[in-house]
């Protein structure tokens, strides 16, 4: 029963550097809302029992209480405004391109199209649309503990790039490139579902993120681009 009420326990494992910050905010809100909920519910139930209709007892004639109303208005405002201010840095860190950590270990263009994710690697020259570009369907390979930059776009409708374990979600829009970053902290394979309704094949639109250890990633690269000396797949 308690497991049902313990929301944070249901979060999937976090494997990104900024995911911990998201989870901490989640837990903070979980406690704030749980306390507020319990406070209201206990008061409600106590009132319902204590002030139920009883023969010979009449209700009070109370129109309000200005002091009390000011107190709970200001208290609520302070809590929610404080929460918003407290959360802003986390938002900026994840979503503001100007605050992205530089020197990425991999740069990949992710293209949503009905109903697949196309991953394009710029290749060793770091340039898009050259001969050494590599295009993979639904397979995203990145190194562990390195910053990864994603150029997100779509060919047709809006898709949403979602990796639950990275705590990352960003819509992919046709006609726009949206930059996203993450740094995975644990090697493994993770699913990349599409989180925005994109047509009759929406359910099952699924890619895979493979986070490699450093050696594995080098091996994967040299397997893909055997002729070139790989110096990290960098852009510009």
């Amino acid at each position: 029963m308690l497991k049902w009420l313990n929301f944070p326990e249901w979060l999937p494992e976090n494997v990104s550097t900024f995911g911990k910050g998201v989870d901490n905010l989640f837990v903070a809100i979980y406690w704030i809302t749980s306390i507020a909920f319990l406070g209201v519910m206990i008061t409600l139930i106590v009132f319902l029992i204590k002030y139920r209709y009883q023969e010979g007892r009449s209700a009070g004639y109370i129109h309000g209480n200005t002091t009390l109303e000011y107190v709970w208005t200001i208290a609520t405002a302070v809590i929610v405004f404080g929460l918003a201010m407290f959360s802003l840095p986390q938002w900026n860190k994840i979503k503001f391109p100007s605050q992205f950590p530089g020197d990425p270990g991999a740069v990949v263009q992710v293209n949503g199209k009905q109903f697949n994710w196309d991953m394009t690697y710029p290749g060793p020259d770091g340039e898009w649309e050259t001969d050494d570009d590599l295009q993979l369907e639904n397979q995203l390979h990145v190194p562990v503990n390195e910053v990864v930059h994603i150029r997100l776009t779509s060919d047709d409708v809006i898709h949403s790039f979602f990796v639950p374990q990275l705590r990352l979600k960003q819509d992919a829009l046709p006609g726009r490139f949206i930059n996203v970053w993450f740094e995975a902290t644990k090697p493994g394979t993770y699913e990349i579902p599409c989180a925005e309704l994109c047509g009759f094949g929406h359910s099952g639109m699924l890619g895979y993120l493979t986070v490699h250890t450093e050696e594995d990633y080098e091996a994967w690269k040299s397997e893909r681009w055997p002729d070139t000396e790989t110096k990290g797949v960098n852009v510009e």
């Binding site: 004639y61 938002w91 925005e196």
Partner: protein, 615 residues
């Protein structure tokens, strides 16, 4: 004006059946028409939900009854039949409607999308708005402000019948080739604006046209409500003596009036894109997909408050009656509703945190959205304050009102998670938001409707609904509601995306599939319980216990009118002497003093401002 109306109503004439029951100009009949319409559509919308809940619990298994189709019986094996249908999906010669949408009784993915699209569309535009704004708005406004009818009775009738026209267009969408709209009730472009991308042809067009017609219907209603409330209040009915339900409906009418034109133009742009070859929402033609989201949510966020504010108003009517106590903080309740209405215009971006709009906007919208918690909290605390030192009667309307308050608390608090943009990165477009919206609109608005129907039924139909049946319906609904929607928070936290038809396709969702089964089982119980409501409503209309004039001993004006309410509502227009919630006044003879009773010594003297009355 009053004298004139008085005179015209004194000459009673027999009305034809058509004029009395079908094309009626009487606000009460129009209210009842909306009520019956809304309840029927409630069953339709709920039925659609049960279909897709089956698919979510037991993906790609044939539906009961429908699943025993000829193909299934002949081939005996489901997969092959389904695969064949999948290959044939673009062929023109389909067997039948059933075989197209549910081949072998299995819900086709596109039909699945239509189902949840239409579930939401019907519930929002054809159930909750018609019930709260159409039924209760029409019935209550003239009665509660003490006038004889709406300002524009013909407009009022047109409002209902254009609503019916919109319904026919919307239902027709199910039966056109290509199926009904399948882009979600939010209709995100370009999925909705380019036919090739969804495979939906006229379904989406009819969806747009129907919503425009429905919007026109709402506009006619809202113009009527605003005019009536401003101009036709009974003498002495000052703004701060208005019942809170009227305040809520007044604010909602203003929101409707301002919000609807925005979405109407957006829907028009979609139609242009689809039919005239423009590209407002297509990047390759120079358009922008995000334009639709901005226009839509600029309308749809106020729309969400349109769905909840009348429920808040109605709860604020029932709570004092069954607490036998004045509402706590009347004025702060009014200001809170005005604040919610104002804030609703500057928070639409919180639906778009992950949409690709400039992240700097995310900061602004997070802050404004968080602020909505303030007026919401004020209202909740005031409801609690009303219960303090009350004398609570646990009648059916009161039980539903208490459910409204507590479920709204959950819905409000769960909203804080999404309002917080970093947390929203993870839970956006998961079942967490599905849980949230249902706690607000079902747990909130629909329980307020259940309570409101039971509470005002004696005034509407002159008969009581059955108390025992009402309690059984309430408890089953309340428990099953929580059984359906509380676990959605949990699978949402687990990352379960909304709008997917087959969760078993995803490795990371496998361990939660049993919760989907549980939700579906509760959903069937919840659906079945609504049959009790329908039986209670329609049986009581003809066979219920005959009601007296003021069975709940309430103070507001509608209960001072005779039952059944005659054409023209009141014998003489009542005069209002004080606020609407004078219960348990010390020294008074009874524990309620109607608004029409002049101030005795027991009530503090309140001057009646000149010019406040209708003239």
């Amino acid at each position: 004006m009053n004298e004139h109306t008085q005179e015209s109503h004194d000459h009673h004439h027999e009305e034809s059946f058509v004029r009395k029951y079908i094309f009626s100009l009487d606000h009460k009949t129009i209210g009842k028409q909306f009520l019956i319409f809304g309840l029927i559509m409630f069953i339709v919308g709920g039925g659609l939900a049960l279909l897709f809940r089956w698919q979510l619990a037991w993906p790609d298994r044939p539906l009961p009854i429908i699943g025993a189709s000829q193909t299934y019986l002949e081939e005996g094996e489901v997969e092959t039949a389904a695969d064949r249908k999948w290959e044939e999906r673009y062929d023109d010669d389909k067997d039948s409607w059933l075989e197209t949408n549910m081949p072998s009784g299995i819900i086709d993915p596109n039909f699945y999308n239509s189902l949840f699209t239409m579930h939401a569309t019907i519930m929002v535009f054809f159930v909750v708005v018609p019930l709260l704004v159409g039924a209760f708005g029409n019935f209550l406004i003239p009665l509660m402000i003490g006038t004889r009818d709406m300002a524009f009775p013909v407009l009022n009738m047109l409002s209902f019948w254009s609503n019916m026209l919109g319904t026919i267009i919307m239902i027709a969408g199910f039966f056109v080739p290509g199926g009904h709209a399948a882009a979600g009730w939010t209709g995100y472009a370009p999925l909705s604006s380019v036919p090739e991308l969804s495979g939906v042809d006229w379904g989406q067009n009819l969806w747009c046209i129907s919503l425009i017609v429905m919007g026109i219907s709402s506009l006619m209603g809202s113009i009527n409500y605003i005019t009536t409330i401003i101009n036709m209040r009974a003498p002495g009915m000052t703004w701060f003596r208005l019942p809170l339900a009227i305040w809520a409906l007044f604010i909602v009418a203003i929101l409707l009036l301002l919000a609807f034109p925005v979405v109407a133009s957006a829907l028009g742009l979609i139609l242009f894109d689809r039919l005239a070859g423009t590209s407002f929402f297509s990047a390759e033609g120079g358009g922008d997909a995000l334009l639709w989201q901005h226009l839509f949510w600029f309308f749809a966020h106020p729309e969400v408050y349109i769905l909840i504010l009348p429920g808040m108003g109605m709860a604020s009517e029932m709570l004092p009656v069954f607490s036998r106590k004045p509402i706590f903080g009347y004025k702060s309740m009014v200001y809170a509703m005005i604040a919610i209405a104002f804030l609703s215009w500057i928070v639409w971006g919180h639906h778009m945190f992950q949409s690709g709009m400039n992240p700097a906007l995310g900061m602004a919208f997070m802050t404004t959205t968080m602020l909505i918690a303030v007026p919401s909290a004020i209202k909740t605390f005031n409801w609690l304050g009303t219960l303090y030192r009350a004398s609570i009667r646990f009648t059916v309307p009161m039980l539903n009102t208490l459910a409204f308050v507590s479920m709204f608390v959950i819905g409000g608090l769960s909203g804080i998670y999404m309002a917080n943009s970093p947390v929203d990165i993870y839970i956006h477009d998961t079942y967490y938001i599905v849980a949230h919206i249902h706690y607000v609109v079902f747990g909130g608005s629909v329980f307020a409707i259940f309570g409101g129907v039971f509470y005002w039924f004696p005034k509407m139909f002159g008969r009581h609904m059955n108390e025992i049946l009402g309690k059984i319906h309430f408890w089953i609904s309340f428990i099953a509601f929580n059984g359906v929607f509380f676990p959605m928070h949990i699978i949402g936290v687990g990352g379960h995306m909304r709008r997917i038809s087959n969760p078993t396709q995803y490795e990371f969702l496998q361990h939660m599939q049993w919760i989907n089964v549980l939700i579906t089982m509760f959903a069937f119980v919840l659906g079945a319980a609504q049959i009790l409501l329908l039986i209670n409503v329609f049986w009581s209309m003809f066979r219920g216990k005959v009601a007296e004039q003021n069975p709940w001993q309430a103070t507001t004006l509608e209960w001072q009118a005779p039952t059944p309410v005659p054409h023209g509502n009141f014998g003489a227009i009542p005069h209002v002497y004080h606020g609407p919630y004078e219960y348990s006044v010390p020294g008074a003879e009874s524990d309620w003093i109607p608004q029409t009773q002049p101030n005795g010594e027991s009530l503090p003297d309140e001057p009646v401002p000149a010019g406040a009355a209708a003239d």
